[in-house]
C-alpha cells in the first residue's frame, strides 16, 4: 500500500507526439483513482509510465515517496491488469496466480496458501487446474484480478479491465472491484474511456484530454463544477447542453441570448461578449411558464428516466423530463431551468467563468 505521485510527467513518442504532457497528480494511499478521457488522450500511457512499461521523458513518478523513474517494472511493486487480461496461456490458473510470487521467490507452501485464499475470494477454486483458453471472459477477468491481488502490491494499475465484458457482467464487476479495493484498502489507478464507469468507481477522478490533465477531484465536484467545456461535455450522461450566445445588459443584470432563447445569468465580473452556457439535461423541467420552447425530435424512455432531444429555434438541446409526461415527436414543450444550474464558459478559451 502506498501513495502515488506524478510530478509534471511527460511522454514524447518517437514521432514527436506529446502523448502525456506535464501531468501532475497526487493519489493518497488507499484511494480509488480513475483516469478518464477519450481514446488517445494519454491515460493508458500515463498508467504504463507508472508501471515502468513506458519510459518517462520528463517529470517524476513517486511510489510511496520513492522516485521510480529509472526502476524497471519488476522493481516497482505494482500490479497491472491488462485490457485483454494477458494471462499466460501455457500455465494453469493456479500457475498464473502464483507466477508473481514465484518470481519473487516466495516459498512454495506460502504460494499455495495465498493462491488458495485469492481463488476463494474471487470464486476461482474450481478453475485452478484449467488453462486460460478453457475459461469464459468473466472468469479470465477474475484470474487477471487475482494475479494482481495475490501479491499485495503497493499500487494496483488497471487498464480498461472491464471493456471486454458484456454490459451485465461489467456492472457486476464494477461493484466487485470496489468491494475488493475497500477490503484491501489498496491504492487503485483505473483507466477508462467510459465516464459512467469513471463516475461510479472513483474516489478521485482525473479527466485527461490530448495528453493534458483537465481536472482532478471527487466525481461529484467534477460533475457540479466542470473546469472547462471539455470536462463539462465529457462527464455526465446524457451530455451537458452547451449553448453559445451573446451577453446583453438586461437592466437588472446580464441577460444571455441565443436565437430566441433569453434568460438572465448570474452577474460575474469581467464577462466576455460571447460565452457558452452549459446546462445539464437533468436541470431542466417541463413548465408551461418556462423560458425554453423545445420542438421535440427524439424521445428516449428508459423506464425510470425519460430524455427528449430537439431544437429550440436552431439551438439543439436535450432535457431529462418527468417519465410520466409523454411528449410526441414534433410536439412543442416548454422547459424551465433549475436555479443555479447554469455553467458559464469563456467561448474563446473554453475555461469555466467564475
Amino acid at each position: 500500500m502506498a501513495e502515488l505521485r506524478l510530478r509534471e510527467v511527460t511522454r514524447i513518442f518517437r514521432n514527436g507526439v506529446r502523448a502525456v504532457d506535464g501531468v501532475s497528480l497526487d493519489i493518497a494511499d488507499g484511494r480509488f483513482a480513475v483516469l478518464v478521457g477519450p481514446s488517445g488522450c494519454g491515460k493508458s500511457t500515463t498508467l504504463r509510465m507508472v508501471a515502468g512499461l513506458e519510459p518517462v521523458n520528463a517529470g517524476e513518478v513517486l511510489i510511496g515517496g520513492r522516485r521510480v523513474n529509472d526502476d524497471p517494472p519488476q522493481r516497482r511493486d505494482v500490479a497491472f491488469v491488462f485490457q485483454n487480461y494477458a494471462l499466460y496461456p501455457h500455465m494453469t490458473v493456479a500457475a498464473n496466480l502464483g507466477f508473481g510470487l514465484r518470481m519473487r521467490r516466495v516459498p512454495r507452501s506460502e504460494i499455495r496458501q495465498r493462491v488458495q485464499e485469492t481463488s476463494r475470494i474471487l470464486g476461482l477454486e474450481h478453475l485452478l487446474d484449467r488453462y486460460p483458453a478453457q475459461l469464459s471472459g468473466g472468469e479470465r477477468q477474475r484470474v487477471a484480478l487475482g494475479r494482481a491481488t495475490v501479491r499485495d502490491p503497493a499500487v494496483f494499475l488497471l487498464d480498461e479491465p472491464l471493456s471486454n465484458l458484456d454490459a451485465q457482467l461489467r456492472s457486476e464487476m464494477r461493484v466487485e472491484l470496489v468491494k475488493i479495493q475497500r477490503r484491501l484498502e489498496a491504492t487503485f489507478v483505473f483507466v477508462t474511456h467510459d465516464q459512467v464507469e469513471a463516475m461510479t468507481l472513483a474516489d478521485v477522478l482525473a479527466v485527461m484530454r490530448a495528453g493534458v490533465l483537465q481536472q482532478v477531484g471527487p466525481p461529484e465536484e467534477i460533475y457540479a463544477r466542470p473546469a472547462n467545456m471539455f470536462v463539462a461535455a465529457f462527464i455526465g450522461s446524457p451530455k451537458m447542453n452547451l449553448i453559445s450566445g451573446a451577453i446583453a445588459d438586461g437592466g437588472d443584470g446580464p441577460v444571455f441570448s441565443a436565437g430566441s432563447i433569453r434568460f438572465p445569468i448570474p452577474s460575474v465580473g469581467g464577462l466576455p461578449d460571447t460565452i457558452v452556457v452549459g446546462l445539464r439535461p437533468e436541470h431542466m423541467r417541463v413548465d408551461p411558464e418556462g423560458e425554453i420552447d423545445l420542438r421535440v425530435e427524439v424521445v428516449e424512455s428508459l423506464g425510470s428516466q425519460k430524455f427528449v432531444y430537439g431544437s429550440a429555434d436552431g439551438v439543439d438541446l436535450g432535457a431529462a423530463i418527468d417519465p410520466r409526461i409523454h411528449p410526441r415527436e414534433g410536439e412543442r414543450l416548454r422547459l424551465s431551468i433549475a436555479d443555479g444550474a447554469l455553467h458559464l464558459f469563456d467561448a474563446a478559451s473554453g475555461a469555466r467563468l467564475p
Binding site: F80, A86, L87, Y88, F99, P132, A133, G137, R140, N164
Partner: protein
C-alpha cells in the same frame, strides 16, 4: 420457409453444377500440383520396379506390376548411402540447433528490444538473401581452407548456418511479432527479469515458432547440394545428395545404377516430406487462443 427452400435448392444446384470459374480454377490447381509432384512421383514409383527390367520404358510399366524392393537392396548394398544419410543427419541437426540457438534470441531482440543499428540489422537480414549462393560457394571454400575446416562437418555446419540463421531469424521475427507483448509486460510487472521472462514466458510460447523455423532450417541444410559438393571431398564426409551424385557420376549409368539412384533419392527425400507434414500442424494460430481476449 419459402426463402429457406430457395436457398436449399440453390445450394443443391450449385453442388450439382459448379460454376465455370470453379471448374477452371480446380483444373489449374490440379495441373500445377501435378507438374510439381510428377518428378517425385516418378522417382517413388520407379524405385519399386524390378531393378532387372529397369530401363524398359513402356507407359504401361509406369506403375510397377509387382512391387519390388530390390532397388533399395541395391542402393544400400552398393553404396555408402546409410553413412551419407548419417552424415546428412549430423550436419542438418547441428545446423538446426545452431541456427535456432542464434536466431531465436536474435529475432526476439530485433522485434522487442530497442538498440542502435536495429534497423540496419533487420535490413541486412533481407539483403543477405539478394546474394546468389553460387557466388558465395568459392569464397567460402577459400575461407574454410584457410581455417583448415574444408572437408569437415564443422566447416559445412558453419556454412549452412550462414544461410539458415538469417532465414530462421526472419521466420522467428514474424512469429515474435505475432506474440502479444502484453504477456511479456505482465511478466515484468509480476517481477520477472528479462532472462526469466524469456525462460518462463517467451520460450514456452515459442515452441510452435521454433518447430517451424527448425523444420525449415533442417530441410534447407538437408537438401543442400551446392555447398556440400564444394566443401566435402572425401567419401566418408559426403552428405546424402553429394554421395548419391558422386556414385551416379562415378560410373556407367547401367540399369542397376539407375535403379539404386531412384531408391536412394526416395529415401533421402523422405525426411523432408515427413517434416513438412509434421510442421504444418504447428502453425501459430490456435496455440495462443485464450492468452488475450478470445
Amino acid at each position: 420457409m419459402a426463402a429457406a427452400e430457395t436457398h436449399a435448392t440453390q445450394a443443391a444446384r450449385w453442388l450439382r453444377f459448379p460454376s465455370v470459374r470453379t471448374i477452371v480454377l480446380t483444373a489449374v490447381a490440379f495441373a500445377a500440383v501435378f507438374v510439381i509432384i510428377f518428378p517425385f512421383l516418378w522417382i517413388v514409383l520407379s524405385s519399386f520396379r524390378d531393378p532387372g527390367h529397369f530401363l524398359t520404358l513402356h507407359l504401361r510399366d509406369a506403375v510397377p506390376h509387382n512391387f519390388s524392393i530390390g532397388t533399395y537392396r541395391l542402393a544400400l548394398g552398393r553404396t555408402d548411402l546409410l553413412r551419407w544419410i548419417g552424415n546428412s543427419l549430423i550436419v542438418a541437426l547441428s545446423t538446426t540447433g545452431l541456427a535456432l540457438a542464434v536466431a531465436a534470441p536474435a529475432a526476439f531482440a530485433l522485434v522487442r528490444l530497442r538498440f542502435r543499428a536495429r534497423g540496419f540489422a533487420s535490413l541486412y537480414l533481407v539483403v543477405a538473401y539478394a546474394v546468389p549462393s553460387i557466388t558465395l560457394a568459392v569464397p567460402l571454400f577459400v575461407v574454410l581452407v584457410k581455417l583448415h575446416l574444408n572437408d569437415t562437418f564443422i566447416g559445412l555446419i558453419i556454412v549452412h548456418a550462414s544461410f539458415t540463421i538469417p532465414f530462421s531469424t526472419w521466420v522467428l521475427s514474424d512469429f515474435y511479432r505475432s506474440l502479444p507483448a502484453d504477456l511479456e509486460e505482465a511478466g515484468y510487472v509480476d517481477g520477472a527479469s528479462l532472462v526469466r521472462v524469456l525462460r518462463h514466458i517467451v520460450l514456452p510460447l515459442s515452441i510452435p515458432g521454433l518447430l517451424a523455423a527448425g523444420a525449415y532450417a533442417f530441410i534447407l541444410s538437408w537438401n543442400d547440394f551446392l555447398f556440400a559438393l564444394v566443401i566435402m571431398n572425401s567419401n566418408e564426409h559426403f552428405t546424402a545428395p553429394v554421395g548419391i551424385h558422386a556414385y551416379f557420376t562415378g560410373q556407367n549409368a547401367t540399369q542397376e545404377v539407375w535403379a539404386s539412384l531412384m531408391a536412394a533419392s526416395t529415401l533421402v527425400t523422405l525426411p523432408s516430406v515427413i517434416l513438412f507434414g509434421f510442421f504444418q500442424r504447428y502453425m501459430v494460430s490456435g496455440f495462443l487462443a485464450g492468452a488475450v481476449k478470445g
